[in-house]
Symmetry: C2
Subunit: 338 residues, 2 copies
DNA sequence: CTGAAAGCGCTTACAG
DNA sequence: CTGAAAGCGCTTACAG
């Protein structure tokens, strides 16, 4: 293996101390008022030897790793993957590397991911917290670990977060359905106490109430288990609802739910939107393929990811204010909405 | 911030040196023949103080970071995301953390990701190398950096890799189509010199030849650009081919190509498989939704990911033999194949 | 403007 | 069986 070039190799060759080399290579030549000729010589030698600093050594000394921990539900799911991608890009732009972990919405895994990332001395965390993990989060707050939530948060802890305008998202969608003549609108959603889902329920319910349809409120909650289980559970509920023939519209509050629901709708050969209007969440290629294309509530993933990184980096740099950002959904209206 | 517990805190409290503590906590008590009572005392105090080792310090001293760099095309694409997930799991099981980077199939990005990961002192790399990056790879080989390729490799460099039996995958699929009466089979594939795609072309061509259909060979190559561009290009070519009405089957050699092709097929209202048989690659929910469901060649992603990690970790631990694994495709046969 | 030196928190020969 | 000490490769007060 080619011998690694070290700071002191440059120092020796330039005939100066390692301190000078460190200053120059870190752009502190102005601040430390290093001589012009020395700066030039050091830069040239560094280039010549193709010097690559050892991040580990730098981190140990400086206490900063320039690494961000990202904890999401599951990197193999497109929603998580896309947001991870945007986070990775923005982080790289700002000089940070990202370590990703998948919690599977499991509190134990989530907590152990946090521990493992902290042991690796990440400078901060971006997380979609799992249900029931608020104890662990309180510890982070107490220890002044910089972090930002995405997608959800705990209302009883004051934290930085970037979330969707979940209430408005479902409120508007339901209003749209009602204004186009639908009255029996069912909301299919995950069974969880997480705020983001609760807000989606609230948006739905209030839209129904505001249109004097409170008697028609119908919320079906699906346990958040494996993808396969979600599909089975959703299809089963859809089977019942469809055979009762009471519904004239479905609003799905998450991607996997939408897809599972669409399977059921197709199986029963229901005409969309004539018999049933449908609005999905997040967006998926299956929505484009369905006959007709499915309308959906789109989250601005790039904005969410970029914003989360920006907020986190500010926190890491020492800005102490709490930042809570709500980004706007976009309603992608297509034939299925009726 | 709660004061971090250090090795020497434990040592002080136990009245021993840090060396003993280090040995015990790293499970070297047998090898170093540490006294029983001392072992117990150290373990107890470590638990009591909730000691968390500083990985950075450990890494600097030991030269091992227990970190793996993973470079794939794009983490937001389901194929990459799923394989990343399996790699992450297996790595965690073996005590490694994964840093992920997306190359976008771009040689420059790919090379700079390698540099950045090496600066972070990853112990090894798992990569789906971008076209034209073989120079950089030769450097890795020369510097004895442990790495494993997935999905593709460079035939002129002897490297560890885990790849699909690409030749057999398309050979068998084409044979199946022919044995079910298809004669004018078109292969839609990315335009690249990468071996894995070349093997898929070869499998196709040889199957055609072996059935005396060499005059019917029709390969259409799509430049690998943005997803949007791929879709546009594929649809355009499909439009032509479909209007000529000469084809009776399509084999798509990658996921994005399949989906783009399916859009075109649906647009033209072609009956599958009556007018046109279709076989896709990789698998996607859209395949399930299409009428009829699309048959496809499935890659064993879990096996590929797990195997890649195992090989890499062996290399990191010093085993020098080159390991080249070919995993078996699975043909998921469904109505569309005719 | 520059250098000598401490120190980040571990691991690991070495000596006894 | 155990301890004192060097050292991983940087950064950064401190002194001049």
């Amino acid at each position: 293996m080619a011998k690694k070039v070290l700071l002191k190799d440059i120092a020796k060759k330039a005939g100066v101390s390692t301190a000078l080399v460190s200053y120059v290579l870190n752009g502190l030549e102005k601040e430390k008022r290093v001589g012009r000729d020395v700066v030039e010589k050091i830069n040239q030698i560094a280039k010549e030897l193709n010097y690559q600093p050892n991040h580990i050594a730098r981190s140990l000394r400086s206490g900063k790793t320039n690494t961000i921990g990202l904890i999401i539900a599951d990197i193999s799911n497109p929603f998580s993957g896309q947001i991870a991608r945007f986070i990775e890009s923005e982080a790289a732009r700002l000089g940070y590397t990202v370590i990703i972990g998948s919690s599977d919405e499991n509190k134990t895994k989530f907590n152990s991911l946090i521990d493992s990332m902290l042991n690796r001395q990440v400078d901060g965390l971006i997380m979609a917290p799992a249900d029931g993990s608020s104890q662990q989060i309180k510890k982070l707050v107490k220890e002044y670990i910089p972090f930002v939530f995405i997608d959800r948060y705990f209302p009883d802890i004051s934290t930085n977060h970037v979330v969707l305008d979940n209430y408005e998202a479902t409120y508007n969608a339901v209003n749209y359905l009602i204004s186009h003549g639908r009255k029996n609108i069912c909301l299919i959603i995950y069974k969880t106490l997480a705020v983001h889902m609760q807000q989606r329920i609230l948006g739905y319910k209030n839209a129904m109430k505001d249109n004097e349809l409170e008697d028609n409120i119908m919320v079906k909650e699906i346990p958040r288990k494996s993808y396969f289980q979600v599909k089975t559970d959703t299809e089963k509920i859809m089977d019942e609802l469809i055979s009762e023939k009471k519904m004239d519209a479905f609003l799905f509050a998450a991607n996997a739910l939408s897809i599972s629901g669409l399977y059921a709708i197709r199986k029963h050969n229901i005409k969309v939107p004539d018999e049933l209007a449908v609005i999905g969440f997040d967006g998926h290629e299956v929505f484009d393929f369905f006959e007709p294309p499915i309308a959906y509530i789109k989250q601005p993933l790039e904005e969410m990811g970029t914003e989360a990184v920006r907020i986190l980096v500010e926190q890491i740099k020492g800005i102490k204010k709490t930042v809570q950002t709500e980004v706007k959904h976009e309603f992608i209206n297509r034939e299925s909405s009726g």
